[in-house]
């Protein structure tokens, strides 16, 4: 933390522990986004091996179709499902959908924008990501 601006820095931005599930969702959204971009770039490189013909394709497939490769792919499925479901929630929120109505605030001032609809959206994203991951593992290891 630099004292000139006293910004909290990356540690503060990435700390998901202080401000409830919404901040956790923010953090997971970032992480899954970066993870998916890394996977996407790797996937484009991986699939370009088809230009090396059958031998080249099979060689590369041997590298990825391993237990570690399957676990990594399961993680990608989790990131993909969470990023999609939470992304739809965030997009609706960004348009002002489901964030409550303005009203005279009453003590203890519970923020209407942090309501059960969005909390359900976040927990659904986590749950669906877990279910999709288990399904993905069953498909990949079931064969």
């Amino acid at each position: 933390m630099t004292h000139d601006e006293h910004k909290e820095g990356i540690g503060g931005m990435a700390n998901p522990t202080r401000y409830g599930i919404e901040r956790v969702a923010y953090w997971l959204m970032r992480l899954s986004g970066l993870g998916l971009l890394a996977y996407f770039v790797a996937h484009i490189y991986e699939t370009s091996n088809i230009l090396r013909g059958q031998v080249g394709w099979n060689e590369f497939l041997e590298l990825t179709q391993t237990t570690e490769g399957h676990i990594f792919l399961a993680l990608v499925i989790a990131m993909c499902v969470f990023h999609t479901v939470n992304g739809v929630r965030v997009m609706l929120g960004h348009g002002g959908v489901g964030v409550g109505k303005p009203a005279r605030p009453d003590y203890p001032y519970d923020p209407a924008s942090q309501n059960y609809r969005h909390k359900i959206g976040i927990y659904s994203a986590i749950l669906l990501a877990a279910i999709a991951t288990m399904y993905g593992l069953a498909v990949m290891f079931g064969e």
């Binding site: 970066l34 484009i44 370009s48 230009l51 013909g53 394709w57 497939l61 993909c80 997009m91 960004h94």
Partner: protein, 114 residues
Amino acid sequence: MRESTIMKIHYGTALAAVALVAVHILMRLTMGFAESLEYENVLANYKFVPYAIMLELILVLLAVHGFNGLRVILLELKQGRIYEKAVSYGCLAAMIGLIAYGSRTIIMTNMGLV
């Protein structure tokens, strides 16, 4: 370009990509997962023109969405005119590079140049 236009593209590419990636994943499950990755089957996918067009669309949509997302994260991490220009143009270059590289695979395989 105004930031609101960029972000509308960001949301639009996300929604379109969700639909197309769902089709792409379902295609892996039409037969066994390992079987769908066999050389002949993958080659057949690429040679089927509608599927190749869909792959190209997914490539463009995800590259635009992904690298704009990266640009947003990097812009928030550090500020400064030169840094911000470098991030914006760097992400644009990476986006174009990835689209070009991926398109090469799709076009060459589709045309039977393997």
